[in-house]
Symmetry: none
Subunit: 200 residues, 4 copies
């Protein structure tokens, strides 16, 4: 995640207990603050205060607040993507959607903060970035839409659906299964071969 390196071991992100603690405190603080205000109203001083970490110490871990957020985002998104990819045997998109929704449901508070709080914009971009990487690894693309556009649309649609879902009251009756269904029909199916216009 970060480029921090311990000289002796060459491993990333030193394992010094103090470092781990500070790092975690910073991430928690960031999430707490994101529930309250958009990213650009959060100052590094806010984060330091909220996390009970020295202002200077922030920079010992992240060069900017954007990097902290990206660290969090990349971690969480990677978790999510790995899980959905693993859950589905990579061809069965419906299964993948369901796993994804179930996972989000389990961590509703976290994802609510990330997707409907002040970090929404960053999350969308990071999602897209990671998805493009994943997409690039898959050789085939059978859709009638240009691949690049297809990826963009699938991802942004999925993210929008989930963000909308998270903004609904939890008892509004939208189960993971139903949302997974929506994702399939709205985000995935439309770009599949056969869904497009009858080509001239």
């Amino acid at each position: 995640m970060t480029e921090q390196v311990t000289k002796k071991t060459g491993k990333r992100s030193g394992t010094d207990a103090r470092q781990v603690k500070s790092r975690h405190a910073l991430r928690s603080a960031m999430l707490t603050l994101l529930e309250r205000k958009p990213l650009d109203e959060i100052t590094i001083r806010d984060i330091a205060a909220e996390s009970d970490v020295g202002y200077t110490t922030f920079f010992r871990h992240y060069p900017s607040k954007a990097d902290l957020l990206n660290d969090i985002a990349a971690d969480e998104i990677r978790n999510l993507v790995d899980l959905s990819m693993a859950g589905a045997n990579s061809t069965d998109m419906r299964a993948g959607s369901l796993v994804l929704c179930a996972y989000v449901q389990q961590h509703r508070a976290l994802w609510s903060t990330l997707l409907t709080g002040g970090a929404a914009g960053v999350m969308r971009e990071e999602f897209l970035r990671i998805s493009r990487e994943v997409a690039a690894e898959h050789g085939e693309w059978g859709g009638w839409v240009p691949r690049e556009l297809g990826t963009i649309l699938a991802v942004t649609t999925i993210v929008e659906i989930i963000a909308w879902w998270l903004s609904q009251p939890e008892d509004a009756g939208f189960s993971s299964a139903r949302v997974a269904d929506m994702i399939y029909h709205l985000a995935i199916a439309p770009t599949l071969p056969g869904s497009g216009p009858a080509r001239a």
Copy 2:
């Protein structure tokens, strides 16, 4: 848009020739700068310098750079929406899509700046805001997807498609008609009745 008031007349956005000139200069400068860097790297001093208007004068027109951008965005989006709505008799979505694409094509430089430059995020939000207003005026909603979600998806998908289109070289072979087709099949059709899952 802004709250500026001319003392004598009490009217908004004075029509004094100097005011009009300054205002236009500010908007042009903002667009020029947006081609070069993202919104948050543009300072009010940049805009003042670029537009050859006194720094203080900026504040006589807009309380912040966000307001200037919103002013531009709202104007342009309103133009766009009005046109597509008028072009289509509101039921024929295909026609509307085509008008919209044609209009964007005519003002390609402007929209390229707005949607692929530093203002992209703001534009998406403003698009959504205005579309929600418009959608609220229409009583009926036949889709199998919750109306709010349907609006979000349609708008974000349209915006993404157009943004992608504008980022392609102009000679890549994507005509307005073809893009309008994509919009119809990817953004509009999927939420229409009959496209959803076979309901239990």
Copy 3:
């Protein structure tokens, strides 16, 4: 003193009432603080607070606290030197000494701060610098001691005598005249021709 320049007039140190006021406030504050602590324990924030001037504004006038002090020092020393030079017809050193002592006596509080407060070191250096300039303008040097050394000794001795004088209670009985006498016999006479060792 400073390099500030008004674009239009080309004059130094703008005459804007606010500038003059800020500048004066900063100088006063510096002197006040120097009565209390040495230069390197005075922070720019202290000066700003003491002078009721914004922290940032300090830098609009001086690039560092050393420059502020040098500004003050150079001004005051120049005053002092000009006066002593004028008072004496440049050959009569006794008269010059007397004028100098009288002037210091008149501004005892100021010089007390400058020479016995936290700025003493800087003042000694600045005195020497200016004296060297003045000495360089005089062609002749009849002393038996190398000219450079003679200047150093005369200046440091004068400064030490005055600093010592200012540290005495005012009623200790050392009149300007008596101090001027000391200066003559201790700082000036020893380097004059005829005072040295009988040369082999």
Copy 4:
């Protein structure tokens, strides 16, 4: 000098080989750095790096860099003063001056660093402090100048002469003897009885 105490013995400045080594390394490093830049541009981290001693270790020996310098200064000055005092039988000031100059000449590099490098200010003050102590032990004072002032002038003059001497190229022809002469005539003689003004 320092307050470091070995628990068992209660003695100051432990004799542990490692301590002695670190201490010496720190002093050398300080002198090396003083040749290059003024005291206030030398950071404790510089000293630690230069001396190949851990940063933390510095504080195990000295509470601040000023204390390290004072330690060095006091040692060296004490050496110098003891020698001059012993060399002269305390009445023959000429002999003392000569011994002093000879000693400085022998350790020219060291004294050059101390008096013309970044530590000059501190050295002057320390010289004065120690001289005052020595002067206080001598009961008599026959000069026509107040004793306190006499001490100040003698010491500062001697220091200035030596600093000037050290700044000259070594082959400029100023022998120890000649400098001792200057010291006698410029720093000592002027305050002796009979040199002052003809008293009324």
